[in-house]
C-alpha cells in the first residue's frame, strides 16, 4: 500500500488535531470537572411523589448562595413551574421523570440534559445575571410536548 507524501502529512496533521481536541476535552472534563451530566442515582419511577427529595420539589439552600433545586418532570410540565433564584446563586439541578423521557434545557446556558424515568440527572449553573430564564423540554414526550416548560426568575 502506498501513501502519497502529501497525504501522509495531511493524515498526520489531521490525527494530531483530533488528539489535541481530545486532550483539551479530557483536561476540561476530568481535571476541571466539566463533565457532561452523567448522574448515577436511581429512583423508582412509579413512586417519585413519595420519594425524598422529589416529594417536595423546590429550592433548598445548602451553602452561601448555593442551592439544590430538586425538580420533577412529567407530561407536560415541571414541578415547580415557577422558581425564584437570588442573583449570583450557584444552583445544582437534580431532576427525575415521573413517566417518559424528557429534556431539560435553559437556552443561552449550558444547562441541557436528559431526564429519564428511574434516574436522577444533575447539572450545575451559576446565575450571574438577573432576568427571566425558560426551562424547556427538548426531548419529544407526547402530544403537548411543546407546552412543557417552567420559568425561572433571577433577582
Amino acid at each position: 500500500m502506498h501513501l502519497h507524501k502529501y497525504e501522509k502529512i495531511w493524515l498526520s496533521l489531521g490525527g494530531l488535531a483530533l488528539i489535541a481536541f481530545l486532550v483539551v476535552l479530557g483536561v476540561n472534563a476530568f481535571a476541571m470537572g466539566s463533565h457532561p451530566p452523567s448522574h448515577m442515582a436511581y429512583v423508582d419511577p412509579t413512586k417519585v411523589d413519595q420519594t425524598a427529595p422529589f416529594d417536595k420539589p423546590g429550592l433548598v439552600q445548602i451553602g452561601d448562595n448555593e442551592y439544590d433545586l430538586n425538580m420533577t418532570a412529567f407530561v407536560f410540565g415541571y414541578g415547580p413551574a415557577q422558581i425564584e433564584i437570588p442573583k449570583g446563586a450557584k444552583v445544582h439541578f437534580n431532576v427525575t421523570s415521573k413517566d417518559v423521557a424528557h429534556g431539560f434545557s435553559i437556552p443561552g446556558t449550558n444547562v441541557n440534559m436528559m431526564v429519564l424515568p428511574g434516574h436522577v440527572n444533575s447539572v450545575t449553573h451559576t446565575f450571574d445575571q438577573a432576568g427571566e430564564f425558560l426551562i424547556l423540554c427538548n426531548e419529544y414526550c407526547g402530544v403537548a410536548h411543546h407546552m412543557m416548560m417552567s420559568n425561572i426568575v433571577v433577582k
Partner: protein
C-alpha cells in the same frame, strides 16, 4: 430490443428497490414541507393529524425507508455490473428481502398515519406504540438482512470462481456496507424483538429504559455510516469514471471502508452524552473512538481532491486551482454528487462538534442537530443519490437521459442546495440560541427568550419550500426516466484503477475484520451493558402520551 446496462433480472430487482425509495421520499418530502410551515407559524394542521404524527412519518420514511431501499437497490446493481450478474439465489433473496421490507414499511406507515405510533423514528421507551409498529420495524430490518445475504451469496460465488483475484472495488465496498449493517442492526433488533414487542403486547409490564437506549444507539450511529458509505462508493468507484479519470488509490479506498466498519459501531454513547446512568468515563471512551472514525473521512477528502486535480491537470489545467474549473460542472451526474461533497465540509465539522463530549451540552437536542443531519444525510448523501439516479434508472430500464433532463437536473440540484442552505443554516443558528428540535410551533406563553427566535423559524420554513419544490421535481424526473425517456443505451459507469493494483490481500480477509470489530464492540459495550442490566433501576411501565 432493450439494452440494459446490467443483466436484466438484477436490473428489475434494483429498479424495484429504487422506485419504493422514491415513493417513500415523495410522501416524506410533503411531510417535511408541512413541518417547516407549522414550525414557522404559517399553517395549522387539521384536527385529524398532529405535528408529531407527521414528524414520525417524515423521520421513518426519509431516515429509514428512502435510504435503506435506495442503498440496497444501488448496491445490488453495482455488484451485478462488476461481478457479471448476481447468482439466482442472490436474486431470489433480494426479492424476498424487498417484499419483507415493503410489507414492514406499509404496516409501520399505517400505524403512524392512524395515530397509533407517534413515537418518532427513535421510538424511545417508555412511550409505547402499538406492537404492529415495532413488528413493521422488525420486518424492515430483517428484510434488509435477507437482501444482504443475497449480496453476500453472489460475492462468495464470484470469489470461488475467481480464486486468487482481487474482488472488484464496488463489490468490496458494497459488502463492507452490508457487513457494517448486519452487525449494527443486531442492537436495534435485540431492542425491538426482546424488549419492545413483548412489552407492547403486555407480556412484560416494565422496561429497562437506559438499556433500550443503549441498544438503539448501538445501531443509531453506524446507521449514519450505512447512509454515508454508499455515497462514498459512488464518490470512489463511480465519479472518477464520470469525469473521465481513474480511481485514485484502490487500496486506500478499501482501507477507508475497513476503518469505517471498525470504528463506526463502538461509539453510540456520543448520542447519550447527556443521559444519566452512564458514567462520564465510559462516555469519554466512546468519544475517543468517535473521533477515530474521522480519519477515514479525512482520507476520503484527500482522495477526492486528488482525483479531481489529476483529471484537471490531464486536461491541461494550470496553476494551483486551475483543475477546479476543468471539472464537468454542466453534467448533473457530476454536479449533484459534487455539491453533496462540498456540503459534507460543514456537515463533517458539525459532527465533530456534536461528538465533543461536554460541548454536546451546547447543541444537544436543539434544532442545530436537525440542521446537521439535513446536511449529512439530507444533502451529502441525498444529492449523491440524486446524481446516481440520473444515470441508474436509464441504465436499468434501457433508456437515455436527454440534454433537457440534464438541464432540469442542474436546476433541481441547485434548488435543493439553496433550500438546504436556508433551512439548515437557520436551523444551525437557532440551535445555538437553544431552540429545541422535535417541537411544534410554540411561543412558550410568549416567554421573552422564545420570542427572540420566532422569526428565524419562518426562514427555516422558506428553505423547506425550496426543498419541497426540488423534491417534487426529482420525483417527476424519476417517473419520466422510468417510463417515458427515449429508449437507448446508458452505460453503467465504473471507474478503473490508476496504477497496477498492489492492494494487500489482508483487506479482503473478512474473518479478521469482523473479529476485530467484535473485539472493539466488546471493549466499548461489554461492561456498560452488563452493568445496566445488573444494576438497573426499577423498570418503567409503558404509556401512550399522544
Amino acid at each position: 430490443m432493450i439494452h440494459r446496462g446490467i443483466e436484466h433480472r438484477a436490473a428489475d430487482l434494483s429498479l424495484a428497490y429504487v422506485l419504493v425509495a422514491y415513493l417513500a421520499f415523495g410522501v416524506a418530502a410533503l411531510a417535511g414541507l408541512l413541518q417547516g410551515l407549522v414550525r414557522g407559524g404559517m399553517i395549522e394542521l387539521p384536527e385529524f393529524i398532529t405535528y408529531y404524527d407527521i414528524l414520525t412519518a417524515h423521520g421513518v420514511l426519509m431516515g429509514l425507508v428512502f435510504t435503506t431501499f435506495f442503498i440496497i437497490g444501488f448496491l445490488f446493481s453495482g455488484m451485478a455490473k462488476t461481478m457479471g450478474g448476481l447468482t439466482p439465489t442472490g436474486t431470489k433473496l433480494g426479492w424476498i428481502g424487498w417484499a419483507m421490507m415493503f410489507f414492514g414499511t406499509a404496516m409501520g406507515t399505517a400505524t403512524i398515519l392512524t395515530g397509533e405510533a407517534a413515537v418518532l423514528y427513535t421510538f424511545y421507551a417508555p412511550m409505547k406504540a402499538t406492537p404492529w409498529f415495532y413488528i413493521g420495524a422488525a420486518l424492515l430490518i430483517i428484510g434488509s438482512w435477507v437482501a444482504g445475504f443475497g449480496m453476500i451469496h453472489s460475492y462468495r460465488h464470484w470469489r470461488k470462481n475467481n480464486e486468487g483475484k482481487l474482488s472488484p472495488l464496488f463489490a468490496f465496498m458494497a459488502i463492507s456496507t452490508m457487513v457494517l449493517w448486519l452487525i449494527a442492526t443486531l442492537g436495534v433488533a435485540a431492542e425491538v424483538v426482546l424488549q419492545l414487542i413483548p412489552w407492547s403486547f403486555g407480556w412484560t409490564d416494565k422496561i429497562n429504559v437506559v438499556l433500550s437506549r443503549m441498544l438503539f444507539w448501538f445501531f443509531g450511529h453506524p446507521l449514519v455510516y450505512f447512509w454515508l458509505m454508499p455515497a462514498y462508493v459512488a464518490w470512489y468507484a463511480v465519479l472518477p469514471k464520470i469525469i473521465g479519470g481513474k480511481v485514485f488509490s484502490d487500496s486506500l479506498a478499501r482501507l477507508a471502508f475497513v476503518l469505517l466498519i471498525l470504528f463506526s459501531i463502538p461509539v453510540g454513547f456520543h448520542h447519550q452524552l447527556m443521559d444519566p446512568g452512564i458514567s462520564s468515563a465510559w462516555k469519554y471512551v466512546h468519544v475517543v473512538l468517535t473521533l477515530a472514525v474521522v480519519l477515514p473521512s479525512l482520507m476520503t477528502a484527500f482522495s477526492m481532491f486528488a482525483v479531481f486535480e489529476n483529471r484537471g491537470r490531464a486536461m491541461g489545467a494550470k496553476g494551483l486551482f486551475g483543475w477546479f474549473a476543468k471539472l464537468p460542472w454542466k453534467d448533473v451526474r457530476f454536479f449533484a454528487p459534487m455539491l453533496g461533497m462540498l456540503f459534507f465540509i460543514p456537515a463533517g465539522i458539525g459532527g465533530i462538534i456534536n461528538a465533543s463530549n461536554q460541548m454536546n451540552q451546547v447543541v444537544h437536542n436543539t434544532i442545530w442537530v436537525t440542521g446537521h443531519f439535513h446536511l449529512t444525510v439530507g444533502t451529502s448523501v441525498t444529492l449523491t443519490f440524486f446524481g446516481i439516479t440520473y444515470w441508474l434508472i436509464p441504465t436499468l430500464t434501457g433508456r437515455e437521459m436527454s440534454k433537457r433532463i440534464n438541464a432540469l437536473g442542474i436546476i433541481q440540484t441547485l434548488t435543493w442546495a439553496i433550500g438546504m442552505l436556508i433551512m439548515s443554516g437557520s436551523m444551525h443558528f437557532m440551535g445555538l440560541l437553544g431552540v429545541p428540535r422535535r417541537t411544534a410551533f410554540t411561543t412558550y406563553l410568549d416567554h421573552v427568550q422564545a420570542l427572540k427566535w420566532i422569526s428565524y423559524q419562518k426562514l427555516m420554513a422558506i428553505g423547506g419550500v425550496f426543498l419541497f419544490i426540488a423534491a417534487a421535481l426529482m420525483v417527476g424526473i424519476v417517473l419520466y426516466l422510468w417510463l417515458f425517456a427515449k429508449k437507448g443505451v446508458t452505460e453503467y459507469p465504473i471507474a478503473e484503477n490508476e496504477t497496477i493494483s498492489s492492494t494487500p490481500r489482508l483487506l479482503e480477509r473478512w474473518p479478521v475484520w469482523v473479529t476485530i470489530s467484535l473485539c472493539l464492540i466488546l471493549i466499548a459495550y461489554g461492561y456498560p451493558i452488563y452493568d445496566v442490566i445488573q444494576n438497573a433501576p426499577p423498570g418503567s411501565p409503558g404509556v401512550k402520551t399522544w
